[in-house]
């Protein structure tokens, strides 16, 4: 029996616009006092009407373009009717027939995953479960009600939990690059609902197991674990029942992160009827080719493009180019650092500094790289000093962290610490002579075994407090001991 998982992901991304999707309320809601960012529109009061937020629509188009989608010039909103306490109007304004963006794709490790659509909708309020006067109660916070959401729906092209995680990371990266959301899964500004079933090949026959949509997944590892649990569960269920997919046996399952298992929430998903119809309160939304073109112009260079450019323009290897282009802020800092001398040599040195001591420092302090602290002059100075062999690559790595922390010129730091590399032969010769007189035993050793010169070089470097150019030091020692 051969099992191939069929996984599709619905990803919701909260857009970081100033105001909500259909009213002028503040769209930020994380940690805000409950029900303070509300108005008649997002509370669904009688008579209130939605007016679409043009910026949110532009963001959706921008994201759609970054996902390689085709953009519909004319779209419209629809009402999805259902009851839920956090849904103020008892319908959600969303898009079904004509989303802003359709037919995109992204590539992960060489494999293409098709994007069915990216459409615009509004978020619901939030249910907060509390015990009040010893009774289990549910409170509703409508601050989130009406916050703009883009729903990105993949085709079921994902075949493993690992790939699902990478897909999410890729979407997150693109969203952040485009700058329309922080796409924080823990904060809930990016949410994910996987739908899973299995293709089972058995004795030349092919079966498909019933589909399950998984809700309440709130972390990256959760997504992986939930999908893996479903794969195992469905495999076992198929072996026992041999039940296959039908139009009425799709289920909704919740993810219990504590018990590490999914549980049945709703059966017969196929029969749910949301009575979609075009939202009569909002006329069709039209973006001309010209307007879409203008949005396209605002698209930043995407990670893939950056990755390629770092390789061709700067000759960086795969590994470095990838690390530098993964995070938008990191790559921006990198580009700023080399901006005064964007050459291959400069890029290679700065890449080493960024991915070496600077990254270690950031990991230790748990900080993001601060672009305001990246002074291109400093990086140019340090590059020039290394080129002229005034400081060594090792010293450069040492001083760059202090320079970043204090905002001082790294070359000045090297000078003040006496770390400037001495390449002046007469200066080095003076030190070499001292080293030779003080290390008679080592000199003897060298004469028997020239390979042991390393010890003498080490002593010389120590005596020069690391400032001697080791290449020149070696040459001089060899000359004196001939």
């Amino acid at each position: 029996m051969k099992i191939t998982p069929i996984i599709g992901l619905e990803v919701h991304v909260e857009l970081q616009t100033k105001s909500k999707m259909f009213c002028s309320c503040d769209a930020s809601h994380f940690h805000a006092t409950p029900n303070t960012h509300t108005c008649p529109v997002c509370l669904g009061l009688p008579g209130a009407l939605p007016v679409p937020n043009r910026t949110a629509c532009e963001y959706c188009i921008k994201l759609g373009l970054a996902l390689g989608c085709t953009i519909n010039n004319e779209t419209f909103f629809e009402r999805k009717n259902y009851f839920y306490p956090d849904l103020a109007k008892s319908y959600q304004i969303t898009q079904l027939q004509k989303p802003f963006a359709i037919n995109g794709k992204i590539t992960i490790d060489g494999q293409e995953i098709r994007i069915n659509r990216a459409h615009m909708e509004e978020d619901t309020g939030k249910s907060v479960h509390q015990t009040i006067d010893f009774e289990d109660s549910t409170l509703i916070d409508y601050n989130r009600s009406g916050v703009p959401l883009v729903e990105i729906v993949s085709e079921p092209d994902i075949t493993s939990p690992e790939m699902a995680k990478n897909y999410l990371l890729k979407i997150q990266q693109i969203v952040r690059y485009v700058g329309v959301s922080d796409a924080d899964i823990e904060k809930g500004s990016m949410r994910c609902e996987p739908t899973v079933n299995l293709k089972v090949e058995d004795n030349g026959e092919v079966f498909y197991t019933p589909m399950a949509e998984i809700k309440n997944v709130a972390s990256l590892t959760g997504v992986q674990s939930a999908i893996q649990f479903e794969i195992d569960r469905q495999t076992k269920a198929f072996e026992e029942t041999r039940e296959t997919k039908s139009s009425t046996n799709k289920t909704t399952r919740g993810w219990d992160a504590v018990k590490n298992q999914t549980f049945l929430q709703r059966e017969k998903e196929g029969s749910a009827d949301y009575r979609y119809f075009p939202e009569p309160d909002i006329p069709p939304v039209i973006f001309t080719d010209e307007e879409i073109g203008k949005i396209r112009e605002t698209l930043p260079e995407l990670p893939e493009q950056k990755f390629a450019r770092y390789q061709t323009d700067f000759g960086l290897n795969d590994y470095d180019a990838n690390l530098l282009s993964q995070d938008l802020n990191f790559s921006k800092c990198f580009e700023q650092a080399i901006s005064l001398n964007p050459t291959k040599d400069m890029a290679k040195l700065v890449a080493n500094l960024f991915l070496g001591s600077l990254k270690t420092h950031l990991n230790e302090t748990q900080e993001e790289l601060d672009i305001n602290k990246i002074n291109p002059e400093f990086f140019k100075n340090i590059f020039d000093a290394v080129s002229k062999s005034e400081i060594s690559a090792t010293v450069a790595k040492q001083v760059i962290v202090d320079s970043y922390k204090d905002g001082t010129d790294p070359v000045e730091i090297a000078k003040s610490k006496g770390l400037i590399q001495v390449s002046d032969a007469s200066e080095i010769e003076k030190i070499a002579k001292e080293v030779i007189t003080q290390n008679a035993k080592a000199v003897e050793d060298y004469k028997k075994n020239p390979a042991s010169i390393g010890f003498l070089i080490g002593q010389l470097m120590k005596a020069s407090k690391g400032s001697a150019n080791p290449t020149i030091a070696k040459e001089i020692l060899e000359k004196l001991l001939k």
């Binding site: 008649p40 509370l43 669904g44 009061l45 009688p46 008579g47 209130a48 009407l49 939605p50 007016v51 679409p52 009402r79 009717n81 009851f83 839920y84 306490p85 849904l87 103020a88 109007k89 008892s90 319908y91 009827d273 009575r275 979609y276 119809f277 009569p280 309160d281 909002i282 006329p283």
Partner: protein
């Protein structure tokens, strides 16, 4: 002098010229309301104390300085109970003010009360109000029409000088016809819907119900204009009152044969045909038109309106407004069920989608007609005011009574109903329909007709 008998224009003049005070005007209206309400029941809420208080502090620079105005009870007004004549909202105090009312308040008007209507505006009789039926001032054994029956009755009976109603299909024009008032239904989008409890969102339209055409024109000029809070409001400046016409020379008016169905009351037909003669005398060329049978509009309207209603009313059973959902009346439940059915999967294509397609055909038919004529006239309603109880057990009552206004409603066209005669002591309404955003022409024709007739000068004897 009973100041409540004044037209809006005369009341404004009187206050500005200090012939009387706003307080005197408000008091006279309140006296008349107290006298007639036991008979008419035109109001759900009377804003007595606040209105009197506000009348004492008037800014004479404003166009409606100190004018009391009756507002249909589906307009939200902050701090005032807003029920849409449904017990479900019996205790609901609106949290904000609708754009139309805000514009009236900004113009200096005073809200004197909220008028009765069919609950949720579902009807054409005002008999389905949870607060009891409103009676027709011309004969209290008869209905005022609806759903803006309270607004029309309050104006016709001189309880107030003027009022605001709203129409989805006929709710301004039909009660105006039955009560002998002027009802101006603007183009869809001309007047903001923000803050009006939604019925059929793709058709809802606020508008004035008044004693004269001039009064209606003045109110439209104040309440119209683009509203950033209503995405369907047209991007136009407030409507401007047109200069009156001297005659109708060069104006072609169409008279659709289909607007005179067999079941029409003869007195209505006679009055409208007489009106046609008056228009001809004024210089208009009147031609017969072949238009789409209004029966298609009834079907389309029924499906679309029920569909929208089923979704619009859903919010009242999510968040509650003080009453359980069992407070929904039979008519609302019927409409929710029908609309839920027409939108459900498997039936959507056959009903909702099909209705939208036919709606497009109706729009195209009007476009075609308006290549031939400048305006279309006809009876507003096939009958004069029916007796109380006529709507009971008739779930399609409104659709049949409104069959002659439903086609133009579906096309989003403006229309005005003006008094054009009487049958058995009850008023008959003439409607004038013009192309999109051509309220000016409808008002000009109506004004000229009014100037040459005296139907609007007659008052019910109560």
């Amino acid at each position: 002098m009973e100041l409540n008998k004044l037209t809006l224009i005369d009341a404004i003049k009187g206050i500005k010229e200090k012939k009387f005070s706003s307080t005197e005007l408000v008091s006279d209206c309140l006296t008349k309301i107290e006298q007639l309400e036991p008979t008419l029941n035109a109001f759900v809420t009377i804003n007595k104390d606040q209105a009197l208080e506000q009348s004492k502090n008037i800014n004479f620079d404003k166009p409606l300085a100190g004018i009391p105005i009756a507002i249909k009870d589906n307009f939200c007004i902050k701090g005032i109970r807003t029920t849409a004549s449904s017990k479900l909202l019996d205790k609901y105090i609106a949290q904000y003010t609708s754009t139309v009312v805000q514009k009236l308040l900004d113009a200096g008007a005073i809200v004197i009360g909220k008028t009765n209507m069919d609950a949720w505006a579902h009807g054409s009789s005002t008999e389905t109000s949870d607060y009891g039926p409103t009676k027709n001032p011309w004969n209290p054994k008869h209905l005022p029409g609806g759903s803006s029956g309270g607004s029309a009755a309050s104006v016709a009976s001189d309880e107030v000088v003027t009022s605001i109603g709203s129409e989805t299909a006929g709710s301004i024009r039909q009660p105006s016809a039955w009560c002998g008032t002027v009802g101006l239904k603007p183009s869809y989008g001309r007047v903001s819907r923000y803050g009006v409890i939604a019925m059929g969102s793709s058709m809802d339209c606020p508008g004035p119900i008044t004693k004269t055409v001039d009064d209606a024109a003045l109110l439209l000029s104040i309440i119209s204009g683009h509203d950033p809070k209503d995405a369907t409001s047209v991007n136009q400046n407030p409507w401007q009152i047109p200069t009156p016409l001297k005659d109708l020379k060069g104006i072609k008016i169409g008279l659709p044969k289909a607007y005179f169905p067999e079941q029409m009351k003869p007195a209505v037909k006679t009055a409208v045909l007489n009106a046609t003669k008056t228009l001809k005398k004024l210089g208009a060329e009147v031609i017969e038109l072949d238009v789409l049978d209004p029966k298609y509009a009834i079907a389309v309207y029924t499906v679309l309106q029920r569909s929208e209603v089923s979704s619009n009313l859903a919010r009242f059973t999510g968040i509650r407004y003080g009453e359980p959902r069992s407070a929904f009346g039979d008519e609302a439940i019927r409409r929710i069920m029908l609309g839920t059915y027409t939108l459900s999967s498997g039936y959507y294509d056959a009903y909702y989608l099909q209705a939208q397609k036919v709606r497009t055909l109706i729009i195209e038919d009007f476009d075609k007609q308006f290549q031939k004529v400048d305006a279309i006239i006809g009876p507003t309603s096939p009958t004069t005011a029916l007796a109380l109880g006529a709507s009971e057990g008739q779930s399609m009552f409104g659709e049949l009574e409104d069959m002659l206004v439903e086609p133009s409603t579906l096309a989003g066209l403006p229309g005005i109903s003006i008094p054009c005669g009487f049958g058995d002591g009850l008023p008959v309404g003439l409607q004038i329909i013009t192309p999109q955003l051509r309220e000016d022409l409808a008002v000009q024709i109506a004004k000229l007709f009014e100037s040459n007739t005296d139907y609007h000068l007659q008052h019910p004897k109560l």
